[in-house]
């Protein structure tokens, strides 16, 4: 769907050349939600703006839906842009237009006749959940509602790709979740490919299938969200995982946990993309005559299942405990690590 090769953007300023985007190569499949995470100044905005040519690349190629974007000019560039929706951190709505007029704007640009335009606008308003706010001006809407207008506007011309640059960064956590749910919903309903730029791990974990981690203009790590974050190789990636898990504190307290729980086996389960874990613990408890005590856990849900770890204490008859442990090892894809065996 999207194929990026050796993409580079250098800003020439008086004093120095800034490599905002430095040799990025990546492929994005159709219908995927692809996250790009990085700290401020990593080059995320520059990268996404290169995709619809709001910035001209210094080098490299961008192929979107079999179209080479880098060679487009004038009218063909404008037409190509109509197939790429974009949403922004600060919404960028026209304050002089109402909700419906804002959503109609890209349709006016594409030359859609008035009657069709009105029908399409109403469809979109219903899709993003703004029914009843058709004639409100942006100043009369909340942040979440403004972003809904932004999303409806971006979808107006039935794009194949949606670019989202920090679309939830100006919203409170609850509204962020509602907007993310809407984006996942749209992704599933319309099969739209979404590129999500963010500096928040929460966004990646909640909606993305794949992720690229950016630092100093480069993609330092990429792949399935679960793979990248269950096994971070770069320091930046590790920091982002910490943001989600805060591991440091946990390791200290493990000794404390071990002291407290004197009996039985202590087992640590590492989850990475297991979806049947919801019932794993209760299955073990039901099938074997043992007691399970959860001592510690930090688990977060991603689009491809759970990510995190859990420490449990299992007490009971020795032979049955061994069987239960085997069951755990064999039926789940979680990595089972025995921290302390019973003896």
């Amino acid at each position: 769907m999207i194929s990026i090769k050796g993409l580079k953007k250098i800003y020439k300023t008086k004093h120095q050349d800034i490599k905002a985007v430095d040799s990025i190569t990546l492929d994005i499949d159709e219908g995927e939600i692809y996250g790009v995470i990085g700290y401020s100044g990593a080059g995320k905005s520059t990268f996404v703006r290169l995709l619809n040519r709001l910035e001209d690349p210094t080098a490299g190629s961008i192929v979107i839906d079999d179209k080479e974007m880098t060679s487009l000019k004038g009218n063909s560039l404008r037409l190509a842009r109509q197939d790429i929706g974009m949403i922004f951190q600060h919404f960028n709505l026209l304050w002089s237009r109402t909700t419906e007029e804002n959503i109609a704007f890209p349709l006016e640009i594409a030359g859609v006749p008035k009657k069709e335009r009105e029908e399409r606008v109403q469809e979109l308003i219903d899709l993003v959940g703004l029914t009843g706010r058709e004639t409100s001006y942006p100043s009369q809407l909340s942040g979440g509602q403004k972003q809904r207008v932004g999303i409806a506007r971006a979808l107006a011309n039935d794009p194949k790709v949606l670019l989202s640059d920090e679309a939830t960064s100006a919203l409170d956590p609850e509204t962020t979740n509602a907007i993310l749910d809407l984006l996942v919903d749209i992704n599933q309903k319309l099969g739209l490919t979404i590129i999500m730029i963010t500096h928040e791990m929460h966004v990646i974990r909640k909606v993305c299938d794949k992720v690229a981690v950016m630092e100093a203009g480069q993609v330092v790590e990429q792949g399935q969200v679960i793979d990248v974050f269950s096994n971070p190789e770069q320091e930046v990636t590790r920091k982002f995982v910490e943001q989600l898990m805060t591991n440091t504190e946990e390791d200290d307290s493990l000794d404390f946990v071990l002291e407290q729980a004197k009996e039985g086996k202590i087992v640590q389960l590492h989850f990475a993309g297991e979806s049947t874990n919801d019932t794993l613990i209760s299955n073990v408890a039901k099938s074997y005559d043992i007691n399970i005590n959860i001592l510690q856990g930090k688990i977060t849900q991603t689009q491809n299942g759970a990510l995190g770890k859990m420490v449990i204490q299992m007490t009971g008859e020795k032979a049955i405990l061994a069987e239960a442990l085997n069951y755990l090892k064999n039926t789940s894809t979680a990595v089972v690590e025995v921290i302390r065996d019973d003896d």
Partner: protein, 220 residues
């Protein structure tokens, strides 16, 4: 004691009408030319949609030069030009070229300021939708800056009312002319006073309409 005995109501009405006439026609001309100058300044500036250094410098120079010349001198300077255009130097129409050329650069600068206030993100959003520059001008730049364009036009209109009085004093008609020739020169100060009052009222009317429109247009 002022007793208004010198006042000729018919003449006063005629002068008031002429002032309105000069103000409204020149305001229309100023709006059109000022808008063009402002857009040109904004669009051709660095990082503008039509970035063009030579045109930007030429436009800015034109604007600065004509804003620098005091209006009373500008009228004299434009004598040959006005005569060529209209074949006369007297009457309200003769004041129009000077009024427009004097006020348009002033309004143009205000237009430029209003356009600069527009959030860059909105323009970028329109570009991302595949909008042409002309679409951006007519559907984004002008509507989004409309309240500021209207309040700037109000300021310009009030300056123009002042200019019409000055033009009147050298033969263009209107309240300035009536106050100067019928009033000041014949020591009929009641006429000067009544002309002042009417000009103040006209200014108030323009200010009121301008404020009302600007407020009504502003949906921020």
């Amino acid at each position: 004691m002022i007793d208004f005995s010198n006042l000729d109501t018919d003449k006063l009405w005629e002068a008031t009408y002429e002032t309105f006439y000069m103000t409204l026609i020149s305001l229309t001309g100023t709006f059109v030319f000022g808008l063009l100058l402002g857009l040109l300044l904004y669009l051709t500036a660095k990082d503008g949609l039509w970035e063009n250094k030579p045109i930007n410098i030429i436009t800015a120079t034109f604007v600065n030069v004509f804003r620098a010349i005091p209006f009373i001198i500008l009228i004299l300077l434009l004598f040959p030009f006005t005569y060529f255009l209209l074949g006369t130097m007297r009457g309200p129409n003769a004041a129009l070229p000077a009024l427009i050329i004097g006020a348009a650069p002033f309004y143009g600068r205000l237009v430029e300021i209003a356009l600069k206030e527009i959030d860059k993100g909105v323009i970028e959003a329109a570009q991302a939708m595949g909008a042409k520059t002309t679409t951006i001008i007519f559907r984004v730049l002008l509507p989004e800056s409309m309240p500021a364009l209207v309040s700037s036009l109000t300021v310009t209109a009030i300056a123009l009312i002042g200019y019409t009085a000055m033009a009147g004093a050298i033969g263009a008609g209107g309240l300035g002319s009536y106050a100067y020739y019928a009033g000041f020169q014949r020591r009929a100060f009641d006429i000067v006073l009544i002309c002042s009052i009417i000009i103040v009222l006209i200014v108030f009317i323009f200010q009121f309409i301008g404020d009302y429109l600007s407020k009504k247009l502003d949906k921020r």
